[in-house]
């Protein structure tokens, strides 16, 4: 790890219309680090992820990524800088085949790599993704809409990996999934983390996320109410109960 964080979000104030959703939130992710952003529905987690990925512009505050101020950089260019968001609800293109969904994940590399290099890159990463998610390989010609929720989540993660992102952002990756499938998702995330992938995972209230990350922060009504080392948090059942309402139990 180097001293310079991969992502530094400072004093973000964001809103929609007259409603302020984030009220001065700051966040850092170091290289190779996994960070959980936790909080109840309406806390502003997804908005924070949209600001990080460039879909929503902040009213105030800055977003620095990989040593550069990217606050004014739109989402389509931020993807090329190395930020990949797996959106809430997965965002699978149902009119595209599974392989087309995956290949479209590397669109941000077009223009950066020569055609031949892009083709080689796509072949290599596709092999890797298919190796991680064999079900996608078996059904590569199927439409994305034909997959189950869990398989769609695998596809969404695989698609995000196609651009070799420096930072992988997952917004509620287990939302709507059976607990068993949620465990599968975390198994994959654990492997990615072991490979050195920097990532942010957003969860409403999951002990599983806390068990998985290096650091966690908690948002409440648009403000950061807690930020710290995940290991310390895991050890403090009272704190977990107070902030996350988990009572130490597993939450799907």
């Amino acid at each position: 790890m180097t001293a310079e964080p991969l992502l530094r979000v400072t004093d973000l104030v964001v809103g929609y219309g007259a409603t302020k959703v984030l009220k001065g939130v700051s966040l850092e992710v170091r290289r190779g680090e996994a960070v959980a952003v936790l909080g109840a529905n309406g806390a502003g987690k997804s908005t924070l992820m949209k600001v990080i990925s460039g879909l929503v512009a902040p009213w105030e505050g800055t977003v620095w990524f990989d040593g550069a101020d990217v606050t004014g950089v739109p989402a389509e260019e931020r993807a090329g800088l190395g930020i990949a968001l797996v959106p809430e609800g997965r965002g699978i293109f149902t009119t595209l085949s599974i392989e087309e969904n995956l290949l479209i994940g590397s669109t941000s590399l077009r223009g950066r790599l020569s055609r031949a290099r892009l083709r080689r890159h796509n072949d290599e990463v596709l092999d890797r993704v298919y190796g991680t998610f064999p079900v996608l390989a078996e059904r590569r010609a199927d439409k994305g809409s034909n997959l189950s929720g869990g398989q769609q989540q695998m596809l969404a993660i695989g698609r995000a990996l196609m651009a070799d992102p420096k930072l992988l952002v997952l917004d509620e990756p287990c939302l709507g999934l059976a607990p068993k499938m949620g465990n599968e998702v975390y198994k994959v995330l654990r492997t990615l983390r072991e490979q050195g992938q920097s990532l942010i995972v957003v969860e409403e209230s999951s002990r599983r996320a806390l068990d998985f990350v290096d650091r966690a922060c908690c948002l409440k009504l648009g403000e950061k109410v807690l930020d710290g080392d995940a290991e310390e948090m895991r050890a403090d059942e009272l704190l977990i109960e107070a902030y996350f309402g988990l009572k130490g139990a597993e939450s799907p």
């Binding site: 293109f93 009119t95 994940g105 590399l109 077009r110």
Partner: protein, 294 residues
Amino acid sequence: MTAFVQHVLDALSVGSTYALLALGLTLVFSVMNLINFAYGLLLVWGGYGACVLVDAGVPFALVVPLCILFVTVLSMAMGRVAFRPFIGAPPITLLITSFGVLLIVQYIAILVFGEKPRVLDVPGFLTGVVTTGGLRIPVLQLVTIASGALVVAAFYALLNRTAFGAQLRAAAELPQTARLMGIRPDRVLMIAFAVSGAIAGVVGLLWFAKVGAVTPRSDLEPTLKAFIAIVLGGLGRISGAMLGGLALGAIEVAMNIVLPAGAITYAQAIVFAVVITLLVLRPGGLSGARTEAT
């Protein structure tokens, strides 16, 4: 039997023109939710372009690609200047902009060419008739059907066999998620306008070769027919646009056959009544889905 085949060819010819019109209009709608009222004006300018080139003695074999290129560039200019700044704007803003563009482009045509019809002289072979097996088929009708098939095949290849096609489908389905993949909405829009313009160029030539003359207000009928076709087929769906166009052509030809001589004057009104009845029965259009997927 001969009469039936003749009617089918008529329906295919009229329907493929409408299908192409609807295709061009739907393409831009699907990526921007823009109902471009100025679309018919692209045909008109294509028609004028053909008139000017033919009158200047340019061989017709050159007039065709030049006109298609001209309308493609015009469509892209329209998209760049008038619509690209409004990406993500509310539909009502796009609607008003579209009306504004219609008026401006129409009045420029009036200023340049005047209100009088300008005759488009097409080569003699296009006005000929092929007689075979008791059928009398106008050459222009065959050219129209063949062009329709060719454009649709090329369009489908572009949409389903190229990376751009996948990007376009992705951007049409989930525009925000598409941006997360690095797909630039402005680039997708410009290419949609280019393809839509190329289609308008082809249809413009076919339309005015059939009608014989261009006026600055010749846009009304093709625009109206394209709207009916896309609504009939199912708004926003590419396959629906083509189905709607072919269905509209079939309904028009059928009305001309079954209506008694005295009622032919009301054929267009009756066609509208049939279309409205179909939409009452299938509000989502002919292409099937009763609720939109996105």
